[in-house]
Symmetry: C2
């Protein structure tokens, strides 16, 4: 199966979630996402998402020069971004519940 399609509409959330945890720059976000289990996110996807989120006002950014490579463009989640993350998370869990139900996975436990 192609995991790539699953990411659609969710990568935003993943990125926001990672950044809200701690300000981060693109390259690092990619690493963190991959570590988290999203093994095959493309870097271009993340950068693209970052740009979109930034333009949407969900992220702010500041550049930090690095002494071991090119400068890093750090991103931080804005209040609007937090809001979006909250909403998205809600949408996601509803959606995932429905899917789990449909697929009959034992994932979702009562509680």
């Amino acid at each position: 199966m192609d995991t790539s399609q699953l990411l659609k509409g969710v990568l935003d959330l993943a990125v926001l979630a990672v950044v809200v945890d701690e300000d981060a720059y693109g390259y690092d976000i990619v690493r963190r996402l991959r570590d988290a289990g999203l093994d095959d996110v493309g870097d271009a996807s993340v950068y693209g998402t970052l740009r979109r989120l930034f333009q949407a006002g969900a992220l702010s950014s500041y550049v930090v020069p690095s002494d071991e490579g090119p400068h890093r463009k750090y991103y931080a989640v804005t209040p609007a971004g937090r809001e979006a993350l909250r909403n998205g998370t809600k949408t996601w869990s509803h959606f995932a519940d429905v899917l789990d139900d449909l697929l009959g996975t034992g994932r979702k436990d009562a509680a």
Copy 2:
């Protein structure tokens, strides 16, 4: 948030899951999916998915004339389809776990 993007790559599974439960025709599948909570699946999406799955050999079909409307094209899940559903479900639950983790939803009983 746009639920529509979330469906990407998952509608196949949802459709398979519904059909595996009981042979069904397009119009009915749409209804069942909507009832299940996927309120805004477009009918065109479902029909498209159906065609794709059929062509991929995951579904077989047979036409049943109806006396209260046009004929119905019923679909049934093939062994290959069952296999695909199993795989897809696995991929899904892994994916959903990762996402839940990232988003810190209390959905999963990971604790």
